[in-house]
């Protein structure tokens, strides 16, 4: 499990609030970026981040075995609910991305590939595995999937991305 998980467990066990603050500082920036990568706007990402941490505070001490996985699970569920509500409330075309050059262009192309070629669960798996660096078990806990399924789908998604990337290069 993640190194930051011990901080939450300490907060649950001893009431060490500094430990929880350290957990927040370690996880919040990357979670905000993940929410952005998964389609939330910057403002929405702040709201979802706050709500995810507040819900984590309320629930995590019941079973603090995998706090980071639980945090991501809460945040992604909130994002799905939010996107569902948004889809029914209004349909706005996303802002066209600014034209990028060099590394930035390659980064944007790869991010677009992830968005367009992978389903929502696969995007979550790929981002949590290859960007955030979570273990298969953590991802399985976060997404409520069997660990073997996560392992298989991560490999499949990466192979598909690889093929699409080659196709784009060629």
């Amino acid at each position: 499990m993640a190194a930051t998980d011990a901080l939450v467990r300490r907060w649950c066990r001893e009431g060490d609030e500094q430990a929880f603050t350290a957990f927040y500082r370690a996880e919040a920036p990357r979670l905000w970026k993940l929410l952005l990568a998964r389609g939330a706007g910057p403002e929405e990402a702040y709201d979802l981040l706050a709500e995810a941490f507040l819900r984590l505070v309320r629930t995590v001490c019941r079973d603090p075995t995998a706090p980071r996985a639980l945090l991501y699970r809460i945040a992604l569920n909130l994002l799905v609910d939010h996107q569902r509500r948004q889809a029914t409330a209004r349909r706005l075309a996303p802002d066209p991305p600014e034209p990028a050059v060099g590394d930035a262009a390659e980064h944007e192309a790869l991010r677009r590939l992830v968005r367009e070629r992978l389903g929502p669960d696969e995007q979550n798996i790929v981002l949590m595995r290859y960007w955030i660096g979570m273990t298969h078990r953590e991802i399985a806990t976060a997404l409520g999937l069997p660990e073997g399924t996560v392992r298989r789908r991560a490999a499949e998604a990466l192979a598909r991305l690889r093929a699409a990337w080659r196709e784009g290069d060629g």
Binding site: E17, T21, K33, Y46, A50, F53, E106, Y130, W131, A155
Partner: protein, 116 residues
């Protein structure tokens, strides 16, 4: 896909998503204050619950000790010991003082339900 290819693509993915804009530190600090306050309240509530449980347990233990001591009953040493029964004497019949009391006579009329 080979392991080297997988690692190369994973590194590209990491770079691509790390390149996303960073969150505003002021916004994160504002959220941190809210989260820290909630964490403080939660920890305080858990501490209060723990103390309450400890106080209840201590009270229960004290009550059990008091009950065991029975301060309202005379001390056991002042009670007269039961006289030993002589050998060969049969124990008394259990609490039979005489012939059984006769049953009350049955009423010689039926129950009057209604009389004009």
């Amino acid at each position: 896909m080979s392991l080297a290819e997988e690692k190369a693509l994973a590194a590209r993915l990491e770079a691509a998503f790390e390149a996303l804009p960073e969150p505003d530190p002021a916004r994160l600090a504002a959220i941190e204050a809210r989260v820290a306050a909630a964490a403080h309240r939660r920890a305080a509530a858990r501490r209060a619950a723990w103390w309450l449980a400890a106080a209840l347990a201590a009270g229960a233990a004290a009550a059990a000790g008091w009950w065991a001591a029975r301060p309202w009953s005379p001390p056991a040493a002042s009670e007269a010991p039961a006289a030993p029964r002589p050998a060969g004497v049969a124990p008394e019949a259990p609490d039979r003082q005489g012939p059984a009391a006769p049953a009350p006579p049955a009423p010689d009329h039926g129950p009057i339900i209604y009389r004009r």
